[in-house]
């Protein structure tokens, strides 16, 4: 069976190879007129300059944390000696995935704009294939990191010892913390950067000066386009790298612990998520190739084509997971596959519900647009109401997915004995949802790429048809991306839940390391390594009647709000600075609004950069420090409460923010399409206010929340040794 493992690095290499291939092909396309090239170059430099600065800050944070981990590991024996290194590689690869994605995006924008001028289909191909570069890079690097660590740790720890398999898999989890840390910085920093520029540009440009989006006369426009790259592309890449690896690593760790004492079954349970991910790579590549249309394809053809690609991979992974579990020789092979199946269905439902609430093809967003007739205040009230109400079905859906994936894997025994198997089922469901990330991320990332192309077209003053077409591609992307987003949201909840169990595992390891005994359910004192999850739950009284647990729940819920508030304020503050600067330029640079004088783009870029650098540190550090403090002060019971509270409140808050933001965006587009007075009307201005408020909702605070939840889990896991020592 060991040989099966080599499918994983092979899939990794395959993914990276195709990513390289698509990248080369994209680079060969024509970048268009000298102006287009110049602007693309400008955006590229700005984006790279920012990313370099962000990485510098993050590097400092990583070095500090790695040193702390090293002290804990070598100084106090509170941790595995490999933790500092695993942590660093996770951060490195996550950053690399974001970097490659962003580099690709900045090369693709002018090329997409150029191609789309000739045909819609040509534009789609370049944008989508560029998105695929990011998708395949993320999964390729993810599987590479996993493969490397598996090989290293297998060489160090004898995998035929059942306890060692636990040590190996939980050590690997810590590279997840590196990835989460990087992802949070990328999402928060990038999110603040992009929304500060976007909000600032919109308020002065659209609302006050009445010039269109991405107009070269707007001094914030370059910053806005740079922001799209560092926020939507690099941020998204780091984010999904973290989700992808997190789900696989958590499942491996749960598999090792569920079958403790039986190394053969442990191995199978560890291999299953890796193999499903490896198969997912192949299916993604097949799916990407399925996205092809004849020249002169209609919009409907394009939509059908994109849908075909993602649906094909999703259906195939559902089918093939039966094969994986069967071939690995699980006795409950079809039940485990049904766990995966539940997750996939849940992802599809969440995607569809998101689409229903945020697309202007449906009632809710149309009604939201209608409320612009009574001014911006009702647009805001109704948008917030819409977002809050929209949380109901996704939460119910994820609850069903939890119960079903747990139920199938445990034979519907909701008992303490069946707990580890059920948790494994929940976790493997998350892996199923993310296994075809190669293609779902492509459909998600290509939207921002098309958007960037539109920006390039506008700034290069190309024929308006080009912008219209990139807008069509962007809108198309929003529809097809829904499923991918549903998978990402759903899997985040499931993975976070699985990480709770991994935390208990780490507590056991910590106790074992300190040589402590645990009272088993049978009432005997046993070595902590042999303890079951219920034993640890009993030891620390992790029941909801324990006030310490409830205090944790309170703090967790509060953390979600506090974190959102901090990022929201950061955007608000920075955007105000941007507005002041843009107004200043409009007033002091003569001829700027007539297009005769060139605005000072650099100052705006600097404002965004500074704001992002400055504001991301406190909120991100909070996510690392709070779980450590809670662990030290309140112990494992408090930590589990913290993580559960953050998960419940944070997940719901994230959906609310994303959907309110999305609905405002599309309500504005609906009005721009000529409803309720159309562009330039008072109603339009009211929806622009909604869209502006929605910007930090959907692109800064909202997307950061899922990472926050997982990072807090990861920090708790890595710091479990310290917590155990104190309690």
């Amino acid at each position: 069976m060991d040989k099966l493992f080599y499918f994983v690095p092979a899939a990794s290499v395959l993914a990276l190879l195709f990513a390289w291939l698509f990248y080369r092909r994209m680079r060969k396309a024509d970048e268009g007129t000298p102006t287009m090239k110049e602007i693309a170059q400008y955006v590229r430099e700005g984006a790279m300059a920012y990313l370099k600065q962000q990485y510098e800050v993050v590097t400092v944070v990583f070095i500090i944390l790695a040193v702390i981990f090293a002290v804990m590991a070598y100084g106090f024996n509170l941790q595995n000696p490999w933790v500092p290194f695993a942590f660093l590689t996770g951060g490195f690869f996550s950053g690399l995935a974001g970097f490659i994605g962003m580099r690709t995006a900045t090369f693709a924008s002018a090329r997409t704009a150029n191609a789309v001028g000739k045909s819609l289909n040509g534009g789609l191909r370049i944008a989508f294939r560029s998105g695929a570069v990011m998708g395949l890079t993320v999964v390729g690097l993810g599987l590479l990191d996993i493969s490397i660590w598996w090989l290293i740790l297998n060489a160090v720890y004898d995998p035929s010892d059942t306890h060692n398999l636990i040590v190996i898999t939980t050590t690997m989890l810590t590279f997840g913390m590196g990835a989460s840390t990087q992802a949070l910085f990328a999402r928060v920093g990038g999110g603040i950067y992009t929304k500060c520029a976007d909000v600032g540009a919109d308020i002065v440009g659209k609302v006050e000066a009445d010039i269109p989006e991405d107009d070269p006369r707007n001094p914030a426009t370059i910053a806005d386009n740079v922001g799209d790259n560092v926020g939507d592309v690099a941020g998204m890449g780091a984010d999904l790298y973290e989700s992808y690896c997190g789900s696989i690593l958590a499942t491996m760790a749960l598999g090792a612990s569920a079958f403790f004492g039986d190394t053969t079954m442990q191995m199978k349970a560890i291999f299953a998520p890796m193999l499903i991910a490896a198969i997912g790579v192949v299916l993604s590549i097949i799916g990407i190739y399925a996205v092809r249309t004849k020249d002169g394809a209609s919009l409907k053809d394009l939509l059908g084509s994109l849908g075909r690609g993602t649906n094909l991979s999703a259906v195939l992974i559902a089918v093939l997971s039966f094969g994986v579990f069967y071939l690995l020789g699980f006795s409950n092979w079809w039940q485990l596959s049904l766990s995966v199946f539940s997750g996939l269905i849940a992802g599809v439902i969440i995607g569809k519900v998101t689409e229903y609430y945020t697309s202007h093809s449906y009632k809710p967003t149309q009604k939201l647009a209608e409320s612009s007739q009574t001014g911006s205040a009702t647009v805001i009230i109704n948008g917030i109401g819409l977002g809050m109400v929209s949380t109901a079905i996704p939460v119910i859906t994820i609850c069903c997915a939890i119960l079903l994936s747990f139920g199938f894997a445990s034979g519907f025994h909701f008992t303490q004995e069946a707990l580890p198997f059920g948790l494994y089922g929940i976790s493997i469901a998350a892996v199923g949802m993310l296994s075809t990330l190669g293609i779902t991320l492509a459909t998600d990332a290509y939207g921002p790429m098309a958007d960037n192309a539109g920006g390039n077209a506008q700034m290069s003053e190309l024929d308006p048809i080009v912008r219209e077409r990139t807008d069509v591609l962007d809108a198309l992307g929003n529809t097809t991306a829904a499923t991918g987003k549903g998978f990402a949201i759903g899997s985040a909840a499931l993975t976070a839940l699985a990480l709770l169990a991994s935390y208990i595992e780490e507590i056991k390891i910590g106790l074992h390391r300190l040589g402590e005994q645990v009272v088993s359910t049978a009432g005997k004192g046993i070595d902590a390594a042999q303890a079951s999850i219920p034993d640890i739950v009993a030891r620390y009284d992790i029941s909801l009647m324990n006030p310490i647990v409830l205090v944790g729940v309170f703090i967790g819920a509060m953390m979600a709000f506090l974190f959102c508030g901090l990022t929201m304020n950061a955007v608000g503050r920075a955007a105000s600075k941007m507005v002041v600067e843009v107004r200043r330029q409009f007033q002091t640079i003569k001829g700027i609004l007539e297009g005769k004088a060139r605005p000072d783009y650099t100052r705006c870029v600097m404002i965004s950069t500074k704001a992002a650098q400055h504001e991301m540190i406190f909120s991100s550090m909070l996510a690392i420090i709070v779980p450590i403090l809670v662990g030290v002060v309140l112990g494992p019971a408090g930590v589990i409460g913290l993580l559960s509270g953050a998960l419940g409140a944070g997940f719901t808050l994230a959906i609310f923010l994303a959907n309110s933001g999305g609905a405002w965006d599309n309500a504005k587009k609906y009005v721009e399409d000529g409803h309720f007075g159309g562009k330039g009307s008072e109603n339009h201005k009211a929806t622009v206010v909604g869209d502006t408020v929605g910007d930090p909702f959907k692109d800064t605070s909202g997307p950061s929340l899922n990472i926050l939840i997982k990072l807090m889990s990861m920090v708790s896991i890595v710091m479990a040794g310290l917590t155990v020592m104190m309690h």
Copy 2:
């Protein structure tokens, strides 16, 4: 010791007597000019007409629920036979408290306006004493209901049997459900009514037509003033009646269960909260009389006087609680008093923090006002950010209060054995915070009374000085009300936590009723009545590793958001209708804006009434149905998860909404005071948008959340028998 009980009905009668006294005295004051009388009459009739309609709807709901409870009790023996009646009285008295408060308010408005024309101090006296009528009515009726049921149930069940004391106290808890149901309808219905009118009036009046608040030319102005009465006064009365009784009843139930097997101690633990409340009544009356100033008192004098009243009662209750526990003969008398003390301190801190974030004397709201310079979008973004960030200290404070009040009462043993005593400490802390409700509610309710007086003055076109003075009184009220609000918020969280434990008690009773056995921690099967909380926790696996519990947490968090979203949408929808109507009147009724033609106030009143009636039903019913469904489908583990999730997310969400709304309101006032351009400037309009968005935040969705949390707990408690039967 039984004789001590008679202090409770005596205090009740005392409170009602003084309420009557203050009411009579207020009625004797001069109501002013005929116009003032006419307008007051108009508002009074509108308010009474609405309340009558609301009570009709609520009566139907109550009858249906009472019939269901009767069937459960008499048909299936799933419940105590007294439950339907207790439920009905709770609803009745809660409604009565709201009704009396509102009636007082509508009589006081013109009289306050008239008195304030002569002196600030005279106005303060009438408004504050009218607020005291409501405060004393609420506590008087609360203690009356508690006394009556205690006497009845003591006559029926022999209180010398330890099990009977549990039955008596948990039966009494169900009248809490009646109060909660009434309170939720009052808050949601009243909240929608008032904010629909307020938002509608502001959008057209202030933003579009540029006429001041409460201008008689505005057709929505009567509806707005009626709304202030039905929402802020009647809603607040029903709400705090529920909180007050809920905290006392929960503590009685916890006391009975903590000392199970020792009837003497049970009695003491049951009497303690009642006695503290009774003493609180006396202290409130003393405090109310301490609020007196010389004629011609300066603003500072008034503020000092109000503060003196509330602080005096709070300090005295802290001191006297030592006496109560000592005289009752608790061995840990001073520790229990420190539990009460922790709660009081927490309430004060929460109040101060609220003030810091929402008063324009401090940086946060000033900065918010400043952000109006970059338009309404940044006002909204920063206001939401401010509200979210402002949740941090209150949540941490309440966490400290939980740990301290639990710790003192349990001797800082955070173990399962000490659990009942610690929970009793948490619960008694909530009682301490609400014991002086007679005066804190007076300081809270007198703000809306002053506001109403201002409305009357404006509509009666009195000298602008009158309006200015009522505004001063209103602002004064906001400052002094902070402590009372802190107590209300803090006690809601503590009571909700205590209700979790009461739920477990009801589960035990349900199991006992079905004749089921429970496995004790010692491993033996025992009768459910003898089971401890940890036994029940173990039986249903109420640990956070149980996926059913986590599913409950998700649903609970979602419920808080869903409920807010529904009420927010209701306000948005209704306000849009109001805007359309007001615009229509401005356009079609000639001379309306010149003050020559009389607007059609009635149509606006009807829009508000209809909206409130129609929209409150679904969201309120949801709060009743969801916990029942969760109980039936997921069992006690799911219910505890639900309640914890709702508590964590709902409590935080409530603070966020209240503080964002408060800050927007005061940021607008700050601009109106002449900062950043002052009244009529673009910046002012931007803050008006913020204020309008904040209206449903702080007056509809926010205040309903605390009741939602407690109502869901109460429903779960009452329905525990059904849940047990199904699981």
